[in-house]
Every structure is written in structure tokens, then in C-alpha cells.
Symmetry: C2
Subunit: 346 residues, 2 copies
């Protein structure tokens, strides 16, 4: 059955069946964060009570043929990823997701079962990492898009913890990332060029998984605030692009040491001519980029089960990001990351 063959009412009913049990199971932890859901999907708005707390709101949209391709992305993975992209922004603020509002623009020829699987993927991401889908809007559109707005809150009382911001980088601080970089964009390259799959199919599958089923660093972000970290950002557009944004916000510069950037060792094997670009410009890693003094970073490295790598330092050279290779030379990666609108030649 296609979207054009089902009424809006029936479609929302089927979505409610997926989302509602999840709402029920999530009510308790959300209540503990001072947010009690009173009314979910089915009215002109969702309703919730809040207590005295610090909240955040953030949005992220995925558009067909720009951010995803149904040829190689399942609806379930797409739903998962659309929530994860927003949860990652919540993580980078040191917060926990509470409520999600989903707006879908649907082509009439999309399969209803696909939309159901999309919501199953979204629900799963909420169950695993936090938050509850409480409402949204569904409209017809020539281009399939998913727009997620997510509300989050500090996990603890604001006396004990604080919001992480892009603006708080300080010269002299160490720059760190969680996890490894470049695997998601490597996965996308493999999806686009199936011949690469044959070189090492286990590693290829792992990289594809990094691309279609990423994990946000929500618990890591929340813990970082308790170690005294004050500045963080999630890497969604690529390390260099996002670091430049962070430097601009903080009015500082940065030096990055290429051989300290954590990568999957097979990234070099599979992409001998491109691995640097994938590591520093590849998007959708959803890892956290953050800073702190030695003591703070040492605490993060000791107390997080997730790998934390020191990749460089914050400098006072405003808006200058240097990339140093293993011989001490400053290198210039071929691309400076994605800009959403400028033409590739620009």
C-alpha cells in the first residue's frame, strides 16, 4: 500500500500504535527529569508539565538525495538515524533528550510499510538513548524529508552541572574526540562503490553500519559536564568544518595532529589515497569534539568507557585551524568539508 492509498487519519493511527507503548515506558524516566507527559499524539499539540530546570531545543532535517538514499538505506535505519542526528546535538550540549517532534514530508508513492518501519527505527533510537516522540506533522511533498525537533534537559540539577557550548574553547586547552573518525563517510563511499566491499567485507560492513546506524554520545556528553568540560560540539559535518565553527564561536584557533586522529586501521587499507580526507572531512561521525585542561581530560579518559583521544590543542590564533602531519609539516586537506548550498566547484 502506498502513502497515496491511506488516509492521513489511518496513517497517524498506525504511527500511534508504534509510538504510544514507547511513550508509556518512557514516562517514568522523563518524570524523573522533571517532565511529565500529559498528552501525546492526537491533539493540536502535545502537553507536558515541567519543573524548574534548564532545557534545550534543537532541530535536524534529513532530505532524500541530499542526506540519504533509499537505494541503500532501509526505512528502519533512516528512522534511527534521523533521531540520532538530533540526539547527537543534545549530547553535545551535555543534555539528555526528553521529547521529539517529527515532521514528515512524504511523496505519495512511498510505501506505507516503509513509513511504519521509519517510526519503528525512531522509536528504537528513543528507547536506546532517550526521549519520546510526542507529536509532529505529516504533509505531502514532492521531496521526501524528515524534520526532527528535540527537547532535552540537563540530567542533574543545574547547580551540579552545566550546559556545554561551542563558545567556551580556551587557548592552551587540549582538544579531544570520542570514538573514531571517518568510518561513516567511508561506509558511504563503500555503498556508492560496491567493488570496495570485496577488499575486506567484514570491515566494509562495519563501516557501512557506522554510516547507516550511528550511535550518539549522549551518556558521554552528560558525564563530560561532571568532569568540568565546558565546551563541546558534535562532529556532523566533518572534523575540520565543525572545528572551524567552534573556533569561530570561541574566537580562538586550533592545531590538530593528524597522526593522533583516531581511525579504524582499515580506513588506510581501503582508502589509501583518501583516508585523510575521510578522517578530517567525513561527515556524520556523531562523535563529540571537546576541550579541557590536562586534569579534566585525564578524568574523562579514566572514567569514560568510550575511547577519548587527544588530537590537538586550542590556540589563540583566531579562526586558524592548522593540520600537522607526522613529519611536522602543515598540510592542507583537499576539501574543507561540506557546505550545504555552495556548488562543488565553488
Amino acid at each position: 500500500m502506498l502513502v497515496s492509498q491511506i488516509s492521513e487519519f489511518e496513517l497517524i493511527n498506525r504511527i500511534q500504535e508504534i509510538v504510544s507503548p514507547q511513550n508509556e515506558s518512557s514516562r517514568q524516566p522523563i518524570k524523573n527529569l522533571g517532565h511529565d507527559l500529559i498528552l501525546s499524539i492526537g491533539d493540536d499539540a502535545a502537553v507536558f508539565d515541567s519543573s524548574i530546570t534548564t532545557n534545550i531545543m534543537t532541530a535536524d532535517a534529513l532530505v532524500e538525495n541530499i542526506h540519504f538514499n533509499l537505494e541503500w538505506t532501509s526505512f528502519r535505519d533512516l528512522g534511527w538515524k534521523s533521531i540520532v542526528a538530533s540526539q547527537s546535538d543534545v549530547a553535545s550540549m551535555g543534555c539528555i533528550p526528553t521529547f521529539a517532534i517529527i515532521t514528515l514530508g512524504l511523496r505519495p508513492d512511498l510505501p506505507v510499510d516503509g513509513i511504519i518501519q521509519l517510526y519503528e527505527g525512531m522509536s528504537l533510537a528513543c528507547q536506546e538513548t532517550g526521549g519520546t516522540i510526542i507529536g509532529g506533522d505529516i504533509v505531502a511533498s514532492e521531496t521526501f524529508f524528515i524534520s526532527v525537533t528535540i527537547k532535552g534537559t540537563l540530567a542533574k540539577d543545574k547547580k551540579e552541572t552545566q550546559i556545554l557550548s561551542r563558545k567556551n574553547l580556551l587557548p592552551g586547552e587540549l582538544l579531544c574526540v570520542t570514538g573514531i573518525l571517518g568510518s561513516s563517510s567511508a561506509g558511504l563511499e563503500i555503498l556508492k562503490n560496491p567493488a570496495l566491499r570485496k577488499l575486506n567485507s567484514t570491515m566494509a560492513e562495519k563501516m557501512i553500519k557506522s554510516h547507516v546506524h550511528p550511535f550518539p554520545r549522549v551518556s558521554e556528553g552528560a558525564k563530560l559536564t561532571t568532569f568540568g568540560v565546558k565546551s563541546a560540539m558534535d562532529i556532523s559535518d566533518g572534523l575540520i568544518t565543525d572545528l572551524k565553527k567552534m573556533c569561530l564561536s570561541s574566537k580562538v584557533g586550533a592545531t590538530i595532529f593528524l597522526d593522533q586522529i583516531p581511525i579504524n586501521p582499515y580506513l588506510r587499507t581501503l582508502f589509501p589515497n583518501k583516508w585523510i580526507e575521510l578522517a578530517v572531512n567525513g561527515g556524520e561521525d556523531y562523535e563529540l569534539l571537546f576541550s579541557g585542561n590536562e586534569k579534566v581530560i585525564s578524568q574523562a579518559q579514566k572514567n569514560l568507557t568510550t575511547q577519548v583521544s587527544i588530537i590537538g590543542e586550542v590556540t589563540s590564533e583566531q579562526n586558524r585551524v592548522n593540520l600537522i602531519d607526522s613529519t611536522g609539516e602543515t598540510i592542507n586537506p583537499t576539501s574543507t568539508g561540506w557546505d550545504h548550498f555552495k556548488s562543488k566547484e565553488g
Copy 2:
């Protein structure tokens, strides 16, 4: 300059210039509602403190060639209307808008000046009716779309007032609407068929204005809660369609008297064969449909400066909506409103 010729950073900077002064001016009233904006556009998320209160969240999306046409809608009006559509949902819950998150999907060939005017229209709607734009996302898309998520809150302490819901219609209650119906869809008809403009240009312009620059009933919604109204919905898809949804949620039916539906008298003149359909099925009126006993409704009629018309009553015949003409006959309007996906023939 086109969207493809400006960097994302520059575009967001220009938007911030429009939105930020508005943020500043709005901080005080928002603080009074228990919401203090700490961090607006420019980080991974916006940050605000909340006090103990009841909140709502709702979303509304407008898609090019489905909900708007740039041939006859200015960017400024489009921005205005995109905020108003969400403010209207907030109004129907008896709440006041606090924060708005905007996600834009932009065609690369859209003019940058148009996008700036879009935000000017949005800011104006926030200034007039409430709320502040605090963040969002901008992505590339083959189809131009605007997705607005808005947070609202009860204007007064929840001991003094309560959320309005679609679910609270009671058999025997009177059904009422604010303002007049059908003018917005009449305006759209005139825009599509300029010959109609010549019949009565003043009235035609007024109807066009209803379509491109509607007003949400936020202050009316907030006041209705204090009169004892418990059930309301905004009319965005047409009276019959929305009333049916409301009846379904409340497990009741309704009878509507056609000659009591408030319309612009020129609606009949300009559309002698279509005025009924425009009045009962025309969308985007953004008027409030609500119910109450005689005492409650009489209070609403006395205390609101906006026209309140009794158009029928709630019945116990589940999901049955009867439309009675001036001779007492039950009539069946040709269409049952818009369903967003079903093909027109369906």
C-alpha cells in the same frame, strides 16, 4: 544573490541579525511566563530555563506547490503564515507561544533576499502574537519547505486555567466559531483566477489578504480557558474536516446549521455556486472551533471583542456530522475537505 552563492555561515548570520533583536525584546515577557532564554541561535541547541508550568509543543510544515505558491505569495507573507499556522495550534490549546524552532529546506536557486524577507515575516508574526525564534536547521532540498515547531505554555498558573483539548466535546453543548469562515479559501480561488478580482476588487483584496496574511486567535484561546471552555480546535483543514476529527477524538457527533455559519457577505456574491463549499470545506481559516454550555458561551460572546457565532450543537451520535440548511434539510457538501495524500479521484 542565490542561496547557492552564499555560505551557510553567512546565511545564518544574516538570519541572526533579523531574529536577535526580536529575541532581546521578547526576553522580558517570556521570563514572565517562566521561560528565560539563555542561548539562542548559534550553538548545537538553544537553551532556556523553565519554571513549574504546563507546556505544549506542536509542529506545522508548509511545502511549495502543496501549501504555497511563490507566484502569488511573497516571502514575507509566507514567513508570517508559517508562524501563524503553528501559533494557531497553540491558540487552540488555550496557550501562549514561547519559542519557535525553524527548519528550512531550500532550493539552491532561491534568492537570499527572499529568505531574509521570509525571516522578517516570521519575526513580525512573533512580535505581534508571541514567541521567539530560538534556532533550527537549514538544509538543501529539491522542494522548498518550511517546518515550524513551536513551544507554548499556559498564560496563567495551571490552578487558574487549563489546556483546551479536542477530546472534551460533550453532547448537548453549543458549538461555536470565532470570526468568519471561507474567506481564506476564497482568497486562494481569486489568486488562481484573476478574473474574479474584477467583480469586486476591494472585497477580492480582502479575501486574498485573509489567505496570505491570516491572524491566529491566541488571545481568544487564552481567554476561552478562563470562561470555562474545555474543548477547542483550530480550523486549518476546513470546518467539516476538523469538526469530524474533533468528534472522533471526543466520541460524539455534531449538527451544524448552515445559515448560522458566519461568512463575509460577499462570499455568496463572488462565489454563487461554491460559497457553501468554501465556508464548510475551505481550509486555513485559523479560526477557533469550540464548545460550551449556554452560560459559558454567553460569557465568551460578551467578553471577547472577536465575533463568536453559535453554529450548532454537539450530539451523542458518534462520529456523525449533520449539516442542516435553512429549510431544515440535511445537505451533503460535495467534498469532505482535504486529505493530504489521497488522490483527488479517491
